[in-house]
Structures are given as C-alpha cells and as structure tokens.
C-alpha cells in the first residue's frame, strides 16, 4: 500500500511556516477554513486572517485591495467556488491588475466525492489557464504542495494552486525540490510519455508498471505547472517517445490535455490520447468509485497507451 497524505493539510502547515517568516503574508477564506486548512494560520496569526464569509466574489476583491497595498495574499475556498463563482473578479481584479494573490483551492475534481456534481470543480483549469498572467499549479502530492506553496509565496503575480479533498498517494520523498515551470520525470521510458497531474500521477505510475510487463516502456512525467507549460519538455517527449498520453481529473476541454496538444500540434505532431472526464459531469459517490466509473484509472491510462503506441 502506497503511503498517503493530505495536500490541504500540507498547505495549512506550509502557510503557518510562511507566516512565521514573512509578516507581510495575509490569508483570506470564505467560511471554509476548517476544510481548506487555513485555520492553522488563523489560529497562529489571527490579525492577519480574514474570514470573508460566503462571499467569494468579495473575497477576491478584498485580496486585490490588500495586494495592491503591498501584501502577499493567500485566498482559499473549495475549487468550485474559487473558480466558477468569482471568475469575473479573478479576471479584472487579479489577471488584469496583475496582483500578487495566490488562490489556493482544495476539493478540486470529482474526488470531492459524495457531495456530487455541484461541488466537483472540473472546469477550473480551463478557466484559470485562460487568464493572462496567471500561474497554474497542480501539485501531485502533499510533499510537492508544501514546496509549491512556498514558491508561490516568493514569486510575484497571481497563482492558482489546485488541491484535493482526500488524502492522496505520495509520489515524492521528503527533500524533493519543486521547480516552477518544469515537468518532473518520475520514470524514464522510450515508447510513450504519460503526462499527468494531481491524483492521476500515481495512477500513471501504476499503469507504467502494468505496461512494462507487456514490453511497453513508458516515460511518466508529472506536470505540476500547467501554466506556463514546460513546452521544452513536451517537445522533447514528443521527439524521444513519439506518442503522448495526458491524464487529468478535469473535463476534456481547456486543461492540461488541451495545452499539451496545442504545443504538439504546433511544433511536433505525434499521436496523442487523453484520459479525462470527457464532456459530462459526475454524480455522488466515494472518490475511488467515481474515479472508477469515470474512467480515471490506471487501467484507462494503460488502454490509452496501447492505442497510442499502435498509431506511431
């Protein structure tokens, strides 16, 4: 059994560390601090924490005003509310004003589980990636989350960091160093590259193990920085392995798959396959059940690889 840890808990702890080092950090939440784990910061630094209640639009505007006044602002909610609910505010107040606000959202994707489709943020990457100036990061585990949050704090400009509700498998060891804008090769291989984010990274590694028995040698890469994309790596992978599979817990359009395909189509066309949620919403269920019924599994990735290597 792979060890698991919570990305949102890692976020909450990282915020406290940052708060100790930097008195300029301010944290906002929208009535969800016990769930997003910003309550650790709220307890440690009550003067620098503001609960905005169920006012996500207002929260983003307040974040912008604080950032325009020199603060480094973290604003948290569930991914669904931190994207769809306040998109106009993200656009004008953060993207157009180019302000130093880090939106860190927990409960992304369908692994929110039982709460159902209303709570499944599966279009958030498309929305955030469409906004000029935003950096979009999807950590693959708790270790990377802690590192990515620190990098976000020390990098000027608006960020979106996408976290999960359940504990997720650890794919990195302690001591891992996160480099913004860089793909992370977790397994070398020559026949195909599987690019994955978030909870799909561990599943990509599982698929690669299965495929190795079939003599298909998979390179597996985590792509934590979805924007700006590591285009150099994408082109290198296209050249070296000749086919690409992209796996993500997101709708078919506008996420990592779309972004990789745009680069591949422009400069180095190779066969590609996509493992994602397609063009439909999921329903209530346990996270693992939903991943299974929606085809976000190691088996689905393996099936996609078999198809794509045939097309080379």
């Amino acid at each position: 059994m792979t060890a698991e840890a919570s990305t949102r808990e890692a976020y909450g702890n990282a915020l406290v560390e940052l708060g100790k080092r930097d008195p300029n950090i301010v944290v906002l939440d929208a009535d969800l601090s016990p769930s997003t784990m910003t309550h650790f910061f709220a307890e440690a630094f009550p003067d620098r924490f503001f609960d905005c209640g169920l006012e996500e639009q207002n929260m983003i505007g307040i974040a912008a005003g604080l950032a325009a006044s020199g603060k480094t602002v973290f604003a948290s909610s569930f991914a669904i509310f931190a994207s769809c609910r306040c998109f106009d505010q993200l656009r004008m107040c953060l993207s157009q004003m180019e302000l130093n606000v880090k939106v860190v959202a927990s409960h992304s994707g369908i692994t929110v589980g039982e709460d159902g489709g209303s709570h499944h943020a599966v279009e958030d990457l498309a929305l955030y990636c469409s906004l000029p100036g935003f950096t979009v990061v999807v950590p693959s585990d708790a270790v990377e989350t802690a590192e990515a949050v620190k990098v976000a704090a020390s990098t000027p400009g608006p960020f979106y960091v996408r976290l999960s509700r359940p504990r997720t498998p650890l794919v990195h060891s302690e001591g891992y160093h996160f480099t913004l804008g860089k793909a992370v090769v977790l397994r070398p291989g020559k026949d195909v590259t599987i690019m994955a984010i978030g909870v799909m990274v561990a599943k990509a590694l599982e698929a690669a193990k299965v495929l190795a028995k079939e003599k298909i040698d998979c390179q597996v890469a985590s792509m934590p920085t979805v924007k700006p994309l590591d285009e150099g790596f994408v082109l290198q992978a296209a050249s070296d392995t000749g086919s690409i599979v992209v796996a993500e817990e997101h709708l078919a359009h506008g996420g990592l798959g779309s972004r990789v395909a745009q680069v591949v189509a422009r400069e180095k066309p190779v066969p590609m396959c996509f493992v994602n949620l397609g063009d439909r919403y999921a329903l209530s269920g346990k996270p693992e059940e939903l991943l299974q019924t929606c085809g976000l599994t190691a088996d689905s990735i393996a099936a996609a690889v078999r198809v794509v290597v045939q097309r080379k």
């Binding site: 301010v26 209640g53 505007g61 603060k71 157009q96």
Partner: protein, 253 residues
Amino acid sequence: MITMTAAAGSGHPGGSLSAADIVAALYFKVMRHDPANPQWEDRDRFILSKGHSAPVLYAALAESGYFPTEQLSTLRKPGSCLQGHTDRNLTPGVEMTAGSLGMGLSFGIGVALAARLDHRGYRTYVLLGDGECQEGQTWEAALSAAQFKLDNLTAIVDYNEMQLSGWTREIMNLDPLDKKWQAFGWHTTDINGHDCDQILAALQEARSTRGKPTVIIAHTVKGKGVSFMENNVRFHGKAPTPEEAERALRELS
C-alpha cells in the same frame, strides 16, 4: 469631460458630470495626495468603482498634476494611458482597474484593511454608482466592511437615479437606499451631491465616525451642468457630437 468624450467619440459623460463636484471636493479639498509621488504609501486612496466615469477621474488627476492636461484628448485612443475604463497599471494616480461593476467596494476594503495592518492613517474613499448598487457584490462588501468595523473607509454613492436604459426606480428600485445601508451596519448621510459645503461636511462626518464605515448618499443629477444632458439617459454611454460639445461648453462657461 465634455471635450474628452467628444474627442474620443464615445464614453460616459452623464455619470462623469454627476460625480464632478464630489471628485473635485476629494482631490482639491480633502485628500492627502502627492501627484509627484503617486505611490506615496500614506496617500489617501480614491477608488472609482463606477469605472465608466473615468473622464471625471482623469480630469481631476490631470488638474492635480499627475500627467499633463494635453493627454486628456487621447482618451480611448490607441496607445493612450487613458483607457475607456480605468486601468491602474497604465495611468498614474489610478488606484484600481475598473469597468465590471460592483467590485470597487471590495477592493477598497482590502486597501482599508492594509492600512489597519500597517498602522497607517490614510483613508479610503470608494465612489459607487447607484445602478452599481444593483450588483450583489456591492452588498457582500457592505456586509464585510461593517463586520470588519472599517471606519477608515468611506463609500459615496453617486445617486443620479439613472442607469443605462432609464430611471433606476423603474428598472430595479433601490429606495430606500439609506435604510438598506443602515441595515447592513453603516453610518449613512444623505446630501446634495452638488453642494460643496454639504460634501465637505459629510466627508468630515465620515472621518469622525468611529467603529463603522460611512456611506454618503449623494443625490446628484446625471449630466449636471449641461441643460440638454441633465437627466437625459441618452448621455449615459454616448459622447456629445462636436456641435453638442460646443453648446455644452458655452453653457458651462
């Protein structure tokens, strides 16, 4: 404002004229600011939430010396720092990029909270349109400014009773507006938004009010000062023709 919008051939003269006396009072009588140092950390902040009234702010900034008045004729033209709606990254002295309504009060709360965190004495003024008060976010912000007890924040509603397609009371009635703000926990004061003494007195009252934010409901006339523009909804989002501009300037002089 007349010359600017006429030269641009588009823009929002009506809501700029209705706010002119308020903006003039703030920039020339009340606010501590330094045109030579727009980023001065202790400056009072003016946030134009009704971003379509950009011409009135540009006029005040130019008159204050943030940039040469000659630039005003470049409004809305390619390469100009004077965008159709305000842009904080392009225009010296502009605090907020605006245009999508309802966001300025939230931004002002952030600015006012930063003053508290940094123990700075500056005040934050947010100018809202009355039509803008139909946006839900304005009321989210109203709730939270009171919750955070931001007595260093003053909102001013340019209550000209008109919005793009007609009278606010016929489209989406706001009355009684003062009672709504009071219910949200604000200190309110109603004034004639074209009477300089009343504007100054209300701003002084806001400064001396402790423990809660103040909203000044400034009763104004859309298109104020130009007979054929006053209360004429056509001039919400349409510039005067060259002939109309000439007539308007004659009346104003």
